[in-house]
Amino acid sequence: MNYFIIGFYALLIGGSSLAAFYQKRTAFLLLFSVTLVSFVMGIVGGESALWAVTILAGIIAFSAGVSYSFREFLAIILPKESAKIMRTAPLTAAFGLFIIFTYAITGIFAPIIAPYGESEIISQAFEPANDEMLLGADQLGRDMFSRIVYGARNTVGLALIATFLAFFIGAIGGLLAASKGGKFDQVMSRIVDVVMSIPSLIFALLLLSIFGTNVVTLIIVMAIIYAPRVFRLARSVAGNIVVMDYIEAARLRGEGTWYIIRKEVLPNATAPLIAEFGLEFCFVFLLVAGLSFLGLGIQPPTADWGSMVRENATLISFGEITPLIPAGAIALLTVAVNFVVDWMLYRSSGLKE
């Protein structure tokens, strides 16, 4: 027993007792389960496991603090209506927004932030971190940190463009199918059924093996694979709207399909479509990262998170965590987007029970 362990348990048990005394049910449950978990972990893993718990708790507390301040900040600078919505947002959503904001800044100002160019060779291969290189060098001696910063621009940018394209095709197709109905709807829906019954990664591999891998084909392939998902959602959302009386009224007024879609259907379908955009972005982003990881996505020397993981994977067997950083960057962004989407879905319809 040393002071750290005694202090650790004293803090947890004291905290849970206080929470119990003041009838804070949630806080008590949380603190006490952490106590129990660390009890088990302490027996199995010794003091280092307890340090891990402490560090983890610190990280969570820190991100909760950051999300809280970011939420307050947004609530103050936003106009009145959105500020009201922002105040009721859960912390996870605020955290997601903060991360997305950070990534956007990193991607846009990549050349200013990164100390070196993305394909600039500046040292030996796998040089460890030093004063000049924050995270060390990669397998060719390029600065890891600069490449991660540029990756925010390349990987996320490509996924964003592909998502926009998929969304554009899918949403227009779906809205048209719902408002026109009839044969057009039938044909489109059957095509979509077939495309969706091929697993996306497999389909991507098939198409890329044929058309080769460059950025343009990659974007088009992503759009082909993910447009059907958007189509289905847009069609089902719009399907509920086109049976409304005001659409009937617009039709009787003699408005064209295009006008009905733009002025009557779209404004009522925005909320689910925006949430779907977020989800879609996650899928596309993960697929691009996976393909790059397999060496079939964005090609070197362009800095890209997926291929960086693969190129530096050998470092893992020496207990280095550098290859995990680009992978973690991918994970963090998808988690963040998912947090925001989760909140939006809850707001737009949600499981109310």
Binding site: P199, F203, L205, I210, G290, L294, A313, V335
Partner: protein, 318 residues
């Protein structure tokens, strides 16, 4: 019973039709190559004689529909032609690898399904408490992380730092089952993490949806304890969506296995697919794609049929 049989046969027919269309797409995609296979494989430096010889060997002088039906006929009987790289029959290489992939998927499913359903019911029972929120955050994280991230994190801790399991899942036919299970533990665990998260969320959602129905309200009002409401009143009606969830996730397992296999150098069909895509070995790519698509469709079909069997209301579509 005749009713059910009818519906099942109809669904099977529909699945078969989808598969047929997909086989056309898979075959047709290769036909879209600029030039043809011979030119694409041999590259620009090839002499005319070489290209002509390869064309003859592949029978490219005949029309596309004829070759399609030959290819399809071969595929049905398990003959996918010869690999362009090794010149050996594709089916020889695929057979063992496919069983390896299935082994890994089944292994992961055996661990994942019970855990996921149990935890899903648990968080539905304790919805909107701290546990539910923590579980929500954890599962979202696990879904969002790319598979290779989870895989490398597991390798870092379980094999490099603690030395408990091997980082490379090389298996061969004469290993004992126990050996195989140990070797493939980490790849299986990676998939378990992803799939459990998915299944848990879906199970929770489908149970919570049912909890809003009037008969649950009734049960509650007459004073039935919370767990009994779930086990007796909700679960029987939730089986259909849960079976659906399980089948969908198994389908995911079969295809999501590609990345995991590459990380762990596991001799499965996914790795073979990736290799042959890089080498542009089209017969192998086509065969792998067809197998993956067929498995995917089959499991989706199973989900459909399972849902119909457990929910009598679906037997009479309006």
């Amino acid at each position: 019973m005749g009713d059910i049989l009818n519906i099942v046969i109809k669904r099977l027919g529909l699945g078969l039709l989808t598969l047929l269309v997909i086989s056309v797409i898979i075959f047709g995609a290769v036909e879209l190559l600029p030039g043809d296979i011979a030119e694409a494989v041999l590259g620009q430096g090839a002499t005319k004689e070489n290209v002509a010889a390869m064309r003859e060997q592949l029978g490219l002088d005949r029309s596309a529909p004829v070759r399609y039906f030959e290819w399809l006929g071969g595929a049905v009987t398990g003959d996918f032609g010869n690999s362009l790289v090794s010149q050996k029959p594709v089916s020889e290489a695929i057979g063992e690898r496919f069983s390896n992939t299935l082994f890994l998927a089944v292994y992961a499913a055996f661990i994942a399904v019970p855990i996921a359903i149990f935890l899903g019911i648990l968080v539905a029972l304790y919805r909107n408490t701290v546990f539910d929120r923590v579980a929500n955050i954890l599962t979202l994280t696990s879904i969002s992380a790319p598979e290779f991230f989870l895989a490398y994190v597991l390798i870092l801790f379980f094999s490099v730092k603690w030395g408990m399991f091997p980082a490379i899942a090389k298996i061969d036919a004469d290993m004992t089952l126990l050996d195989k299970l140990e070797r493939t533990f980490l790849p299986a665990l990676t998939m378990v993490l992803v799939v459990v998260a998915h299944m848990m969320r879906m199970t929770r959602a489908s149970i919570i949806n049912l909890l809003a129905s009037p008969y649950v309200e009734m049960a509650r009002l007459k004073g039935v304890p919370a767990w009994k409401v779930i086990v007796k009143h909700t679960l029987p009606n939730a089986w259909a969506p849960i079976i659906n969830v399980v089948a969908l996730n198994l389908a995911y397992l079969i295809t999501g296995v590609v990345l995991v296999e590459v990380v762990f150098v596991y001799p499965g069909i996914g790795q073979m697919l990736v290799d042959s895509v890089t080498k542009r070995d089209f017969p192998v790519v086509q065969a792998c794609c067809l197998i993956f698509a067929a498995t995917f469709i089959l499991l989706n079909l199973a989900a459909d049929i399972g849902a119909i069997l457990t929910n009598p209301r679906l037997r009479h579509p309006k």
